[in-house]
């Protein structure tokens, strides 16, 4: 479909010397301008999928299409210029001698004029609250500060597609909220697309679409409300249900049955208040 910025069809990928494929017959679509979350147990193939989309790993079989181009040796550089990724371990990402150099690195590859580059780097560092560390060596930062710098890289780059591989896993609770809001604002303002790999089900609950991987297979795709409604299958895939569903379960044990499929936090608060008010 014309409006899918990423499509993956029947992708298979096997690591060298591995007995089984890390991804097997994976097909998925990411509509342009949406926020799609990928969830799945450790080793289910999430990072491998991201690396295939970027052309960092070469599929055994299947077709990947990014922004209208079929991924191949000819298109890979063009595709990479439209995708910004924050890797799972920021320590594997740093190339610059200073924080500012590192954030600028992503832009140098994109022929951004120097003047604009400096402004963008400064703005991005400011947005992630790391401006005062601009001249620090990236290795000499705390874990969460490293993640913030890695995120500043894509904020400066403003690529069509942002791929986040557990990019906020080491941020404090307030910092995580703030960074996700920052990415969301950027996405909405510039019409970007976000593909976010995450173990944070509350973050996943806020996305437009969820893709669930299990042992290299896509086992479910759909809106979070659909997928979280049948919670038991998530648990079987090594996952969990969002908080609102857990509380519903506990209330059920005490004889308070709440009808319907799925409530987010706000929905459940409203329901409980109505229940109380009608007593």
């Amino acid at each position: 479909m014309a409006d899918d910025i990423i499509t993956v069809e029947h992708l298979r990928y096997t690591y060298q010397d591995a007995q089984v494929a890390a991804l097997d017959d994976v097909s998925l679509r990411v509509p342009r301008g949406t926020w799609v979350s990928v969830i799945g147990h450790n080793g289910s193939g999430k990072s491998t999928l991201a690396k295939n989309i970027l052309g960092l790993l070469e599929p055994d079989a299947g077709v990947i299409n990014v922004d209208g181009m079929v991924l191949s040796e000819e298109t890979v550089w063009d595709i990479r210029s439209r995708v910004g990724i924050v890797f799972q371990n920021p320590e594997n990402q740093f190339v610059g001698a200073t924080v500012a150099d590192d954030v600028a690195f992503g832009l140098e590859n994109h022929a951004v004029p120097r003047e604009e580059m400096l402004t963008r780097v400064d703005d991005a560092l400011n947005a992630v609250r790391m401006r005062e560390f601009a001249n620090r060596e990236p290795a000499h930062l705390s874990g969460g500060q490293k993640q913030r710098v890695a995120i500043a890289g894509v904020v400066a780059q403003q690529p069509q597609i942002i791929i986040l591989d557990e990019a906020t896993s080491m941020l404090d609770p307030a910092g995580r909220k703030e960074i996700l809001a920052l990415i969301r604002e950027l996405k909405d303002r510039l019409g970007l697309t976000v593909l976010s790999i995450t173990h944070d089900l509350d973050e996943a609950a806020g996305s437009d679409q969820l893709i669930v991987l299990d042992d290299g297979h896509v086992v479910e795709t759909g809106k979070p409300s659909q997928i979280f409604a049948h919670g038991t299958s998530l648990v079987a895939h090594g996952l969990d249900v969002p908080y609102s569903q857990q509380l519903r379960g506990e209330l059920g044990k005490l004889g308070i049955e709440i009808p319907g499929d799925y409530y987010d936090d706000e929905g459940l608060v409203d329901y409980l208040w109505t229940l109380r008010s009608t007593m």
């Binding site: 690591y15 007995q19 799945g40 147990h41 450790n42 080793g43 289910s44 999430k46 990072s47 799972q88 371990n89 320590e91 620090r136 000499h140 930062l141 705390s142 874990g143 969460g144 500060q145 913030r148 557990e166 896993s169 080491m170 941020l171 404090d172 609770p173 307030a174 910092g175 995580r176 173990h199 089900l201 648990v235 090594g238 996952l239 969990d240 908080y243 609102s244 857990q246 509380l247 506990e250 209330l251 044990k253 005490l254 004889g255 308070i256 936090d265 706000e266 608060v269 409203d270 409980l272 208040w273 229940l275 109380r276 007593m279």
Partner: protein, 287 residues
Amino acid sequence: MDITFDHVSYTYQANTPMAGVGLDDVSVTIHGGAYTAIIGHTGSGKSTLLQHLNALLKPTSGTVRIGERMITPSTSNKNLHPLRKKVGMVFQFAESQLFAATVREDVAFGPRNFGVSAEDADALAVQMVARVGLPEDVLDRSPFDLSGGQMRRVAIAGVLAMQPEVLVLDEPTAGLDPAGRREMMALFAKLHADGQTIVLVTHQMDDVADFADDVLVMDQGKVVRQGHPKEIFQDAQWLLDHQLGLPRTTQFALRLQQKGFKFDHLPLTTPELAQMLAEQLGGARHE
């Protein structure tokens, strides 16, 4: 074995223009047998404090007493071996502590290094790899050919295999899937119940509420509060002011309060909140 900090300060790259504060006059005791959680915003000094627990870092000023051992700014790097056996640490970027050609050798290295026979160390490796929820077939794979969460599990297995007196964990569940996180926290809780001292840095306030019996809150290199989770989490506004969060249940209870529900104290766990709600919604039963 208690670990006591007495007016400890630590400066990174001391005496250079890049000098920066890691710890600022910290005096605190971590009690043997306790399950201590350390929370604080990004860059507040948590990892710096942890690295003083086994003398990976030594104070710029002040002293750290680890059991019988006193660490001062002039302590030499020799003879720290026994200390490293007593205090086992899982780093924040656990991948960086992996090094061997196979998972089996990596996990067996600690016990081997501390004098366990090759055979027993291997048996320990097999046992610990299973305990952290990894399939047996990873044993003979390279630890570097694993997913992020799998690498973290290997690092945890390696430290468990050393059977340290004090288990120090720097965000050990970051990157674990939800089931893995639950299982890992249950494993630590079981070790604690059997007498293991645990020091945990985490941003997961639910885990703090569920497992810790002592909480240290850090801000700008200082320990600004210490107490039981029940006390720490009652002061919701203070925590939010320090960029920290609340357990999910406490957050949810606050939203209910804003709607009009009344609670005499803020609950920390889901069953506790469910019980409080049942009393209010059960209406007649309660009144």
